[in-house]
Symmetry: C2
Subunit: 257 residues, 2 copies
């Protein structure tokens, strides 16, 4: 590529998270970067956008030596992508990368994911986009093994593009690099969370709940992201935002309403 | 149906909104109802869930004469469905209905929609589900024309069920009943919002933004929800939460990573 690609970087764990810092480090080796990310953690925000409140978006300095620009935004990951494209950038980025998320966004987690909502928002706006996640929720997770995969997948998307209406959901197992077997193109496993709310009483006598739950995967397909991750592969799921269940249209057309 | 169906009702405009009050009125003619809805507006919340904060969920009385139970919840629409199923109901509801939303959830709006996130959450949990929206954003919108459609579509789903992994996204045009031409099974139009942030300065000199924008539909297909709504039909889009772009898997498999 003669000209350096312009790379928009965001996430949902907040602009200071270790995961986005790793992503920035890798992307600086690929192109010109700009960071527009939430000023606080926005995990599990789904595709929320801010319509009834003000949005702040201010220049942010993490590393005084850095030569790229960063902006810290009061909104959601989807807000960050919208603001970046409409207010901050003077041309369309060549790619948008989101993450690296601290924790899995495989299977049904994709619908709750702030990381993926940023990628989807970019995709809606016609920008090739990838969400990266590591299967480690801890704040000081070790992202070293992610780096070569993040780099090669991003370079491949810059080189080949993505099918129209498709973004990538990439999940990386929590393993040392030498134990990761490679990448697999997968479908989203049909799994779900079975909730188990933790009910407590506050000091003033009012009941409240903490959402918790168990992840149940009854989809044993070897073409799923869950299978790939459990067997030491990086999973890559092509993800779309046309939610139409096209296969159901014919059946519903037989309805007499 | 010999036994009355159990109907879970929620929304994203909040438990006192006119839209959910209309939905309750219609559902009471069909089955036994339970209402678990947000205590405040949660529009554009996407599929957000509450994982880093406490959730309150308290009995709520809107009409002292009513014989059904209602609960007001501090969380998102998806939280309401999770709480209802795991903490409030002692059996799985026969259907979950969400809305009636004050404003459109057609086309790409589905990914931002709290109304639809509740329906999707129910779908993930194996409950037939429908999100209803009226193309009128005003708080005192007139929902009269919606009633016969809401009733007949709900009864049809109770009678016939839905294909596995599919929920319905129903949008109703802002027209008097006699001008609505009927219902159409549709696909989601490929449209988007082009943002146009309104940049202002607060009294303390700090810039902030309001998200606004223009809805652009360049998809002229006569099988889309936008076409149906523009031509006086109620649009019904079968909507899925397997986001895999299955058609893209073959192409991506040719990648050398």
């Amino acid at each position: 590529m003669a000209k350096k690609p312009l790379i928009l970087i965001t996430n949902d764990d907040g602009i200071t998270a270790k995961g986005i810092r790793t992503l920035i480090e890798v992307m600086r080796t690929i192109g010109d970067i700009i960071v527009v990310a939430p000023d606080k953690p926005q995990s599990a925000m789904g595709h929320a956008i801010t319509i009834n409140d003000t949005l702040y978006c201010d220049p942010f300095v993490f590393d005084p030596e850095a030569t790229h620009q960063e902006y810290s935004c009061s909104g959601t990951p989807a807000d960050c992508v919208k603001l970046a494209n409409q207010q901050i950038l003077d041309r369309k980025p060549d790619i948008c990368v989101s993450g690296i998320n601290h924790g899995s966004n495989s299977s049904i987690n994709v619908i709750y994911s702030g990381t993926m909502s940023a990628a989807v928002e970019a995709g809606v706006e016609g920008i090739p986009a990838i969400g990266f996640s590591l299967l480690d929720y801890s704040a000081d997770a070790n992202f070293e093994a992610c780096k070569p995969f993040v780099k090669s997948i991003t370079e491949k998307v810059l080189e080949s593009g993505l099918p129209k209406g498709v973004v990538l959901n990439v999940n990386i197992p929590k393993l040392p690099f030498e134990e990761i077997k490679g990448t697999k193109i997968c479908r989203q496993a049909k799994a779900m969370w079975v909730e188990d709310f933790d009910k407590r009483t506050n000091p003033y006598g009012r009941d409240y709940y903490w959402l918790s739950g168990e992840f149940i995967n009854e989809d044993k397909g070897e073409d799923t992201d869950e299978w790939a991750l459990a067997h030491g592969y990086v999973s890559i799921v092509p993800t779309q935002f046309d939610l139409t269940a096209h296969h159901a249209i014919q059946e519903l057309n037989s309805w007499d309403l």
